[in-house]
């Protein structure tokens, strides 16, 4: 009974963590998949969402008296248009100059993207250090220690309320983004620009504009998740690094260019990371994770849910 309880409890935690990782991976895949753009500042945009949430939630709690968790959810929703706008501006002013222009003769290497986004990440990290200092912050709220419980003392399962809501909101955000990609004309054009930029230009799609929209949506989704994660994960100016490797691993594992594939890649990472605790000591959980990652790259280089054609 004890073993069953441990397995069930681990899987509950794994699914919730997996949904959170999945939403972050999906946000990165919009940049990596649609724009073919390597963004090493993605973790810092998530951190920016955390700091925004910290400030906005503090204000909302003080002004209208909502609970800190609800304030963080409202802040997360407010972060969506704000970071979408920041994303569009950044793309127009900076990143479009080094984005691969698949429809024209000019091509930019990933090296220039790497250098520029690493620079951007250093600016964001040190800017946060200047503005907020190195003190770790968090949005203290009771949901992080509250759980729904099932069963009796012999077999008891806990579902953490805060994590559950964040995972559910992350899943909902991914579904909404997927609907935008699949069901709207903007989404169809973005997919067109991603699949074949030359053909997209020939049928009158302004690829740069849609890359900008993809970048904006990506930042909005990252900041949305960052604003929610801030309710349980203490953050500091360098917190983005804690998540960046997981994000890239999820995108590659799920399949380059596949939005839902990246979500599932992140979900799988969460499950492997937590489920590995059942078989190996906790300190080896990331070793198991990257072992699976390496195996996946060797056996299925296009990613578990990716298509071979997407990489041609």
């Amino acid at each position: 009974m004890a073993e069953l309880e441990i397995v069930a409890q681990t899987m509950i935690a794994a699914l919730m963590i997996g949904c959170i990782y999945g939403a972050l991976c999906a946000s990165l895949s919009l940049i990596f998949g649609i724009m073919r753009f390597v963004n090493f500042a993605h973790g810092e945009f998530m951190a920016a969402g955390m700091y925004f949430s910290f400030l906005a939630a503090g204000l909302l709690t003080a002004l209208i008296g909502v609970t800190p968790f609800l304030a963080a959810v409202i802040a997360a929703l407010m972060a969506v248009p704000l970071f979408y706008g920041i994303g569009r501006l950044l793309h127009v002013g900076l990143l479009s100059r080094i984005s691969p222009d698949l429809a024209s003769a000019t091509s930019h290497t990933h090296q220039s993207q790497l250098v520029v986004t690493l620079g951007l990440s250093l600016i964001l990290q040190n800017g946060a250090l200047l503005l907020f200092g190195s003190v770790p912050r968090s949005i203290s709220n009771p949901t992080t220690t509250e759980a729904w419980t099932f069963g009796s003392d012999d077999f008891m399962l806990f579902i953490n309320k805060g994590r559950f809501f964040i995972a559910a909101l992350g899943l909902a955000a991914v579904v909404v983004t997927q609907l935008i990609l699949k069901r709207t004309s903007i989404g169809a054009r973005m997919r067109g620009a991603a699949d074949d930029a030359v053909a997209a230009v020939l049928v009158g799609i302004e690829t740069r504009r849609y890359y900008g929209i993809a970048f904006g949506i990506s930042l909005a989704l990252t900041a949305f998740m960052g604003a929610l994660i801030a309710t349980y994960y203490p953050f500091h100016p360098f917190v983005g690094l804690d998540f960046l490797i997981i994000m890239y691993a999820g995108v590659i594992l799920g399949g380059l260019g596949s939005f839902m594939g990246s979500f599932l890649g992140g979900l799988l990472i969460g499950i492997v990371q937590q489920a590995s605790n059942l078989f190996v000591p906790i300190q080896l959980q990331n070793a198991v994770l990257f072992l699976i990652f390496l195996l996946a790259i060797i056996l299925r280089p296009q990613g578990i849910f990716g298509k071979q054609a997407a990489r041609v």
């Binding site: 190195s134 992080t144 500091h236 000591p281």
Partner: protein
């Protein structure tokens, strides 16, 4: 033209006159003595580095305000800081950069986490730079290095002293000795050094059975797995040893969620970061209430006046080991410089190792007696036990330094 010439003449005369009068004064200006500080100013432990810097800067300010190093014509100290980053590799490269950029350094302190200090002192030992640290790992002074001293007790010493001290407290409060023990600890060197000491020397001697033994690598994405094992085993005493606030929060919140927080399973931990002001702001006083924290130095009864002054000047709500030890270490360097009357690194190191003080710089270290053995370890350095009470960590042992009485958490 004539007037310009005259003006030039008068100006030139003034410059020459000033130069003549200033030259002897400048020649008497005491030299600047540079002391290095390698600490994490970025990454998850940046806050600890900031506290170390605050302590070291205040000491340099105080020493210079009192006339600098009297035996060296009032030479002023200058603190040179460099970021150790978030890994031993970065810390080592920081030490290399520091030494190449500042070849005239006379001594240094740092680098907070033992694994960083081990890497940094590989470099400083080769350069023959005197190094003072409050990192705990026994390895630091167990490698036969000549240019290092540890001002805090070592991990082994802390491990041997801490559990018996808490066991005795439990027995006094409840009439029963704890029989089972649990460990949830980070995988870094200093932590494992401590945990190793507990497992090999302490548990058997104290008649404790180890019922949970979990090691994690930071950052801890979720504490469910480890804390579920604690919930099932219900140890009489649990050692948690995270080295950053995020991991501590994950563990303590999961304990509350699983119904074993608030003293139901008494918790002890180690490391000044677990008694820092950020623990309170991120985790909250309720979850921390009753938790014991073992450190190597802290604000004590003897240092009440100094601590009040440091609190006021630094703006921190209380003085942590990072701050007070860094403050004290700069004063130990000053003391050695006064005795040796030389800034030569080897002579200075010999003087630091020969330190034997019971007051002055010793006031900044609990125990109030600073001497070093042949290995560079502080002789008789006491373990300091803190307890979170009402949203603040108070020194509760040793008794001579205690600022509050320890209270055993009530099992409910």
């Amino acid at each position: 033209m004539e007037s310009i010439t005259r003006r030039y003449f008068v100006g030139a005369l003034a410059v020459v006159g000033a130069a003549i009068t200033m030259t002897p004064a400048m020649a008497q200006q005491p030299a600047e003595l540079k002391v290095g500080l390698v600490a994490p100013f970025s990454g998850p432990n940046a806050r600890s580095g900031a506290l170390m810097k605050a302590g070291a800067e205040l000491a340099v300010e105080d020493i210079n305000a009192k006339g600098g190093i009297a035996s060296l014509n009032g030479a002023k100290l200058k603190l040179v800081t460099i970021d150790a980053g978030d890994s031993p590799e970065k810390a080592k490269s920081a030490a290399q950069r520091l030494l190449s950029q500042e070849p005239d350094l006379i001594a240094g302190i740092g680098a907070w986490l033992s694994s960083y200090t081990l890497a940094v002192t590989e470099v400083t030992e080769r350069a023959g730079l005197p190094w003072l640290t409050f990192s705990y790992s026994d390895l630091l002074t167990g490698r036969g290095f000549n240019y290092i001293v540890q001002t805090s007790p070592t991990s082994g010493e802390i491990a041997s002293a801490s559990v018996p001290s808490i066991m005795a407290l439990a027995e006094r409060a409840t009439g029963k000795r704890p029989k089972t023990f649990g460990i949830v600890a980070d995988s870094t060197l200093s932590v494992q050094s401590f945990v190793g000491g507990i497992k090999s020397n302490v548990l058997k001697a104290q008649g404790l059975e180890l019922v949970v033994d979990e090691t994690f690598t930071s950052p801890l994405s979720d504490a469910t797995s480890a804390i579920q094992k604690v919930r099932r085993a219900r140890p009489d005493l649990l050692l948690i040893y995270p080295v950053n606030v995020g991991d501590a929060k994950a563990i303590l919140e999961k304990m509350k969620e699983f119904g074993i927080g608030g003293g139901r399973v008494p918790v002890m931990t180690v490391n000044p970061s677990n008694a820092s002001p950020e623990m309170l702001s991120n985790i909250g006083g309720d979850l921390l209430q009753g938790m014991f924290v073992v450190v190597g130095n802290w604000e004590s009864k003897q240092q009440a006046a100094l601590a009040e002054q440091l609190r006021r000047r630094s703006g921190e709500p209380w003085v942590t080991e990072d701050m007070i030890s860094s403050y004290g270490q700069i004063w130990l360097i000053k003391d050695a410089l006064e005795r040796t009357k030389s800034a030569d690194r080897k002579t200075l190191m010999d003087a630091i190792r020969a330190t034997n003080v019971k007051n002055g710089p010793a006031d900044y270290f609990v125990g109030g007696d600073v001497r070093f053995d042949k290995m560079g370890r502080r002789v008789g350095a006491p373990m300091v036990l803190l307890q979170w009470q009402g949203g603040k960590p108070f020194t509760v042992a040793p008794e001579s330094a205690a600022m509050a009485t320890a209270v055993w958490p009530k099992s409910q």
